[in-house]
Symmetry: D2
Subunit: 136 residues, 4 copies
Amino acid sequence: MRSESTPFRVRYPEVDRMGVVHHTHYLVWFELGRTELMRAAGLPYGVLEDDRGILFPVIEAGARYRRPARYDDQLEVQTGIVGLSPVRVRFEYRIVRPADGAVLADGFSVHAAVGRDGRPQRLPTELMERLSPWTS
Amino acid sequence: MRSESTPFRVRYPEVDRMGVVHHTHYLVWFELGRTELMRAAGLPYGVLEDDRGILFPVIEAGARYRRPARYDDQLEVQTGIVGLSPVRVRFEYRIVRPADGAVLADGFSVHAAVGRDGRPQRLPTELMERLSPWTS
Amino acid sequence: MRSESTPFRVRYPEVDRMGVVHHTHYLVWFELGRTELMRAAGLPYGVLEDDRGILFPVIEAGARYRRPARYDDQLEVQTGIVGLSPVRVRFEYRIVRPADGAVLADGFSVHAAVGRDGRPQRLPTELMERLSPWTS
Amino acid sequence: MRSESTPFRVRYPEVDRMGVVHHTHYLVWFELGRTELMRAAGLPYGVLEDDRGILFPVIEAGARYRRPARYDDQLEVQTGIVGLSPVRVRFEYRIVRPADGAVLADGFSVHAAVGRDGRPQRLPTELMERLSPWTS
């Protein structure tokens, strides 16, 4: 798939008493990747929310953890779209350690398109077209 | 299934700019439930880690989000075990709003038993027996 | 001072790789205490924000860390008000370990009263009166 | 003072229901700045902790909040050292919005040097010398 790579570094409070990143933070990293993919597609998420009134709440998410991430690791999240309809978007993610190419985790999130009132809202054709190059 | 119910209240910083709880915090609540189930089983997690040298890293986790949770909501997490072997435990969770019985989310986590060195370690029979009443 | 005591337990992801609670989480605990003081005063914060349109953004905060808090510790936050004017409230906090009375940290936060537009707004007399019993 | 500038972008879950960054996250940003200053000084914090056994727990911290930070803002933290002794380091921080030069917040943290056993430990002369260029 065509994917967007977003580099980031592990922050101190993300690491738990086992000395490895707590599993919840991977979902925050997935969101970083999703944010940057949408920016690259010309659809900054804040603009969608504030100017278009389109929200993308997460309706399902999951992750598999393969190798631990540690404090100060330089990592990247690779983000792609594997399902796109006017009312649903499914993103997939991989957390990679570029130094050796190791895949530390992978995961996904499914989002509904809704309006400010929480009701389902169809994505305008223009938005669908902007996301389509990222879809596999 | 026999499950453990753990009450908690939604904290201010758990709520995002959409006015609903950010999806990552549900995994923290799942962990609250898991912690209390293990305490109820006579296996406080801190004791396992510190005294027995047995760690339970998350190797897979996921959630489905059905209805939004909001600031200051009084909720509970219901936790059960649906898979138990000497090297793996699978917990399942439901986030419930007791006021009306609504299920806001459900999810799961799968844990490996490992030692301090990160190597797989079999759960002692005694621990298996303590968890078995919670298993369906 | 008259203070409100709010019990809570240390959560797993609040602990860092040093094995002690990361300093940022104490500010979340202070907020728990502030929330419960306001509830006890008959001014649930969510109601203030949603029904009255009065927000209390933090304009200054600080903490001194005396002894480390650890995973699963049963603690309490003691919260009082040490400064109250129609446009400013100053809360003070102590994080205490009831098992031995040890004070783990103390701190404060100063809040402005503003409207939804971010402009300063005077607290209604009724609200001032509700908070006054907690003021020293 | 000579300071280290570290750019970062505001993440979605850092923003609360008021639509502005929750005050606790500024302390995480301060830590980002401190981490990068120490890396620039040739003292990556992870190395200090893991190889030298020197920890820098926070013993006091505080912040003043001047203007709100918002979702997706591109910001920077400017970090300097204003007090340095063999047993204590005081960092100061400013959160700046480079687009218009606005200072959103400033703050500080004071750290003790301790060993793995939690006992005070004097900083080796070599470390003092590495930090001294950043001191005002």
